[in-house]
Amino acid sequence: MRRILSAEWTKFRSVPGWIRGSAVAALLIALFPITGLGGGPPEQAAPIPIGPGGGPVVDAYYFVHRDLTGDGRITVRVAGLDGVGWAKAGLIASGGESPGSRYATIMVTGGHGVRMQHDYLHDRAGPEPAARWLRLTRSGDTITGEASADGSAWRRIDAIELPEATRIGLFVAAPQQTSGLGSAPGVATAEFGRPELTGDWSGDWTGHQRGARTATFSGYPTGASGGFTETGDGFTVTGAGDLAPATRADLPVAAAAGDLLLGTFPALIVIVVVATLMITTEFRYALIRTTLSADHRRGRLLLGKALVVGGVTFGTSLAAAALTLPLWLWVVRRLGLYVFPAPPGVLLRASAGTAALLALTAVLALSVGTILRRSAAAVTAVVVAVVLPYLVALIPFLPSAVGQWLTRVTPAAALGVQQTLTRPPQVDSVYSVAYGYYPLSPWAGLAVLCAYTAATFTLAAFLLHRRDA
């Protein structure tokens, strides 16, 4: 195998066009984001709330509150909630006025039962989904949430350290409604019973729409507005917004780190051409006879070629992506564009995944070239198989299910390895490929391409073995 590898490496490096092609592919990955820099940063008047975890959040809800000093408790019955899905009505202890502050809530939801949530990211379901009695208790720095079906037997859901909580009260939120690839502002109205208070509460019940001027608040539907009215035995509150991590649909002008790997597409085409020519030129010039008479182990020969082109592609792409992705992130942020944060581990995974995606595609192209023995047909087949499903998935008027399906079962699923956004389970949003959300996890997406490549490689090795050369 070592002899095959060194011979195939010599073959590869001694065709200047192939070396140039590999270099060009790496440069495309490194430099292609430059094409997106025109036009300057978008107008972004409203601030983006950043949560305690560092990520953008939606921090908008209708808040009816009083202030609590020292230990105390608030108990309320949610008599009714006119809202669907993740529409929320319940109690909240707010940790501050600035957007993105900490908080703790206990709530009933439109479709997900009783939950206790805090700090945008954390969500815990209550043991009795149908419970309608809620209470928050502050004891020292700890906020404890409990729910009850009858107002007498209470079951604790969670307890959160929240020393900064002073403003406590009722809240109603309704996230954007998604329909197909679009979304529209949502609104919900809840009937609360009269809150029972213990402890040192001060001030009157006051209400306001929190987060009204933040970038992640999508507003009210036309004709609707937030507010609260005190009724004989409680409150009626109408609100919009959400308490959750922001998704791409909440921040359409923001970018994802994975967007900066868009040079993958032109690079992929160059790499597919190089990998295909590695074998199709052997057929074209009848060099394959020399190759196979020098070593008749045809499967190993194909493996040697795959290791050479895959290894070269992986190395150059990884260097290009891993070195330039942090640099581009810095540049883009300096230019004023908001980029969803991604930890270094995720950036490294996206870079390494991109390199693996391109290396696997190179092996796929080599295999298809072996099967078809024609350069143009093989290049077309591979580009169509890998890139076309992705492009189709981007078409806005197609049902999103089609896009999700295409990026699940075709080789384009591997592009999911570039996703740097995560899909919070407590948020229904537009999770489309265009927004950078893929149906499969990054490595599972890559595994789909792996499976296609392995199957095609096996067929290619079989045909190379069987056919007369």
């Binding site: 002899r3 095959i4 060194s6 011979a7 195939e8 010599t10 073959k11 001694s14 065709v15 200047p16 066009g17 030129t281 052997e282 010039y285 009848a286 060099l287 006879r289 020399t290 196979l292 008479s293 020098a294 070593d295 008749h296 007369d468 050369a469």
Partner: protein, 307 residues
């Protein structure tokens, strides 16, 4: 059996409806240049591809040094072959073409420089092979065949496109290889290319061997007992010679071919008749004439079948 042989035994090969080989059988022996001759389509290239394990025979076997080519660990150390001199990547230099071949056989680069010197291609070795003339490609192909210094060398139509100087060089080169006890198998569709070089000829037509004999024997059998007589008085000479019962045909202006008469008798007959002549000698057939005699049937059959 020595290492330096190619044994081809009863090869049959069909490609779809076309039958390429019907029991091809011959042996190329060490110390000899074996010519492998036949019209285009006779099965020469197919046989060579089967010898190299590139194509699978439907029946029969081909052995190199007593072993199937595909069982050889470093095949180029057993058999060096040149099938198609143009089988080069045009952007790769000739030297790099030899380097990867050397690496595939576990040979060092010094061997590459040796064979480049041997074929006289050092000056062009670092240029892209796409710019090579056909003669240079042939030399590069021969360098590749000699790379691992194999005991058997097999060349498919190596003279095609070569200039006269190159042809002379290659003949001497192959003779020298045979002189060092190598087995050399050279195919050609032109018998003239082998004249003066081949020791043995395997004449093939329609996928099988028509004749397999030493060149000397082949020429002798084709020459028969004919005389050639050069004279300005052809009709007088023809009359005198025919009167002895010999068969006389005029093959050219001033040239007669006489069958059935010893040289001494012919001289005395012509002298007695007072016919002047400038040359009278036994006819020596060319290798090509012998070849045409042998392949006529095969060619006739082919043209008859296709018309």
């Amino acid at each position: 059996m020595t290492d330096a042989t190619i044994e081809v035994d009863g090869l049959h090969k069909r490609y779809g409806a076309a039958t390429a080989l019907r029991g091809m059988t011959f042996t190329a022996r060490p110390g000899r240049v074996t010519g492998f001759v036949g019209p285009n389509g006779a099965g020469k290239s197919t046989t060579m591809r089967i010898i190299l394990g590139l194509h699978r025979a439907d029946a029969g076997r081909a052995l190199v040094g007593g072993r199937p080519y595909r069982s050889l660990r470093h095949p180029l150390r057993h058999l060096g072959a040149l099938l198609d001199a143009s089988a080069l990547h045009p952007a790769r230099s000739g030297r790099n073409h030899l380097v990867w071949l050397a690496q595939s056989q576990g040979l060092g680069r010094s061997r590459v420089d040796e064979v480049l010197a041997q074929v006289g291609l050092e000056s062009a070795a670092r240029r892209a092979a796409g710019g090579y003339s056909l003669g240079m490609r042939q030399r590069l192909g021969i360098a590749a065949a000699l790379l691992a210094d194999p005991p058997v060398v097999m060349l498919d139509e190596p003279f095609n496109g070569m200039d006269p100087e190159g042809i002379v060089w290659l003949r001497d080169f192959l003779r020298a290889l045979a002189g060092r006890q190598r087995a050399v198998l050279v195919s050609s569709h032109l018998m003239t290319e082998l004249q003066g070089m081949a020791d043995q000829v395997v004449v093939v037509g329609r996928g099988r061997v028509i004749a397999d004999c030493a060149v000397a024997d082949l020429i002798a059998s084709a020459s028969g007992d004919r005389l050639r007589v050069r004279t300005s008085a052809t009709s007088l000479a023809a009359a005198a010679l025919t009167s002895t019962g010999a068969q006389v045909t005029e093959t050219d202006q001033d040239l007669l071919s006489v069958r059935g008469l010893p040289v001494e008798r012919a001289v005395s007959v012509l002298a007695a008749a007072g016919v002047p002549f400038s040359e009278l000698a036994p006819h020596r057939a060319t290798l090509e004439e012998a070849y045409f005699d042998l392949t006529r049937d095969a060619v006739d059959y082919r043209s008859g079948a296709s018309s």
